[in-house]
Symmetry: C2
Subunit: 320 residues, 2 copies
């Protein structure tokens, strides 16, 4: 039976997963990326991990059909080149060609968020929908669109950056240099920042308690969710506001891409209905009903394995 | 030499154009659509017009390779079906198949705005750019995206409706039922409405003069442009505001689609720099610089012939 490798490469860790031809994840191994030891080290270690996960599962390397890898940064998936990945120290690096030399197997790479969304669209929460927009609410916010099994790239492979739409009424400076980007509000960092700022100006909240115990303690998006569940007024206000801003941005996405399904992944998506209820309301109020009526909105299903499963699915699609 | 027919079908008139294989428009004829006489009349007349334009130009029907037609309403271009066109009285009508029977030639149809944008992208103002977003500022506002020669459809062929993004601070009810859609501000009707409303509450303006002569006179977008050129404060305010709102919506388009080129067509685009200058400024201020740096913004070039040229280009692409 044919097998596939999916790789989720991050600045800190790299996960190499073995999948069968039905895209079921059989086994995975995780190591430190070792980006500080150079690109050759990173890719050689990955090639070793590929052999290791095959041996571990008694799969003959001849049965390995292809390898997919999601990488941070800007990727040209057609040429298989990492255009720029700051936290890997890579620039115009022909990742796919080099890993192909090291493993002797066809290698396909793409941006990590596109791989995650591809996984959810083809083998996860959005499976069965033709047109899927995926958004990840992590430290930052990113998005990607899958159209009948094909990733959408736009010019220069830079489409889908929903996190960098400036939202009216928001003024916080974003890492990208713009002001009020969606990412400054609805990412895990954005939710935490709203809480921190409100506490700093003396808003009463159950979240103050954490700072009483330790004035240096970080207030996180998880703390906001917890306080929300305890009926904390500030936490409820933050979640409602965040969901509304997220919904406004996604309404534009709906009108421009006409997705059949939106899948929401990333750490902050664990806020679940606290965030999704006001978000849905805002989308509904800002799109023509024929978009809303056909739209399904789901939380991500693959969580940590999305990148690995998506990368393998992508490799399979490129070799079909 | 192979020839092509491009058809621009409207609720009032229909234009049938003959093009050579380089997509040069050789000749065109125009008639009343006659929608009130039924779909069979409309298509039979079009088939006659096809024969007529061929004879008129001494082109043998054997040299006619294919026919493209842009139609108002919702179109399924894959099946060649008009899903709904209110002003033609068509619903789930297999237009392409019927016109193919009547002409004996392959027929491909799509929505009129997508055909126009396809024409500008392949043979007009945006020729040579890989990823083109086109927007038409007419009575309403519509948009379409062409990605390396392929039209982008989204789910249910409903993508690109940039005219129906509700804009912050705008409250006028749109024909679609939402409030504050881009279309209520930046269409020809939207510009005229802003002028009318300001005059109604007694704003001083050179545009008042037209109403002094005839209190029932309609104030149009063209009147606003004229007053702008005469230094009228209200007209300048309206154009600046309109350009800014248009730019804000297009900034979202840029971040989500990453176009290499935006082409702006439709009657209100004739306002030109009066509208484009504040629009460009707003786009630039609301997108990450790597989008802006690669972006070209151009006015449409094909004007009245865009639908005919685009339809013929589309037919050619489907037969290639």
């Amino acid at each position: 039976m044919e097998h596939w490798i999916g790789i989720d490469l991050g600045g800190t860790n790299v996960v190499v997963g073995l999948l069968n031809d039905e895209m079921k994840l059989i086994s995975k191994i995780k190591r430190s990326t070792g980006a500080d030891q150079g690109s050759e080290f990173v890719l050689s270690q990955i090639a070793e991990m590929v052999d290791e996960v095959l041996e571990l599962n008694h799969v003959d390397k001849n049965d390995l059909r292809g390898i997919g890898m999601g990488s941070p940064g800007f990727i040209d998936p057609i040429r298989g080149v990492c255009l720029l990945a700051v936290n890997l120290g890579w620039k115009d690096y022909p990742v796919a060609a080099r890993l192909q030399e090291l493993t002797g197997k066809p290698v396909f790479i793409d941006n990590d968020v596109r791989m995650y969304v591809y996984g959810e669209a083809m083998n996860g929460a959005s499976q069965g929908h033709d047109c899927v927009f995926g958004i990840t609410l992590g430290t930052g916010i990113a998005g990607a669109f899958v159209d009948h099994g094909q990733l959408f790239y736009g010019g220069g492979f830079m489409a889908g950056e929903v996190g960098h739409i400036p939202m009216d009424g928001e003024h916080h400076t974003c890492g990208c240099g713009l002001k009020g980007c969606l990412e400054t509000v609805a990412s895990a960092n954005g939710i935490a920042r709203q809480a921190r700022e409100a506490l700093a100006v003396g808003r009463a909240s159950l979240m103050q308690q954490k700072l009483v115990n330790d004035p240096q303690a970080a207030i996180t998006a998880v703390d906001v969710s917890k306080a929300y569940d305890d009926g904390d007024e500030l936490a409820i206000e933050i979640m409602n506001h965040t969901g509304k801003v997220l919904g406004k941005a996604l309404a534009s996405v709906v009108t421009l891409f006409s997705p059949d399904c939106i899948v929401i992944g990333g750490g902050a998506a664990q806020a679940g209905e606290r965030l999704f209820a006001p978000m849905r309301e805002e989308i509904k109020n800002n799109v023509i009903s024929f978009y809303w009526d056909k739209l399904t909105i789901v939380p991500g299903q693959l969580i940590d394995d999305g990148g690995v499963i998506g990368s393998a699915s992508y490799a399979k699609s490129r070799l079909s």
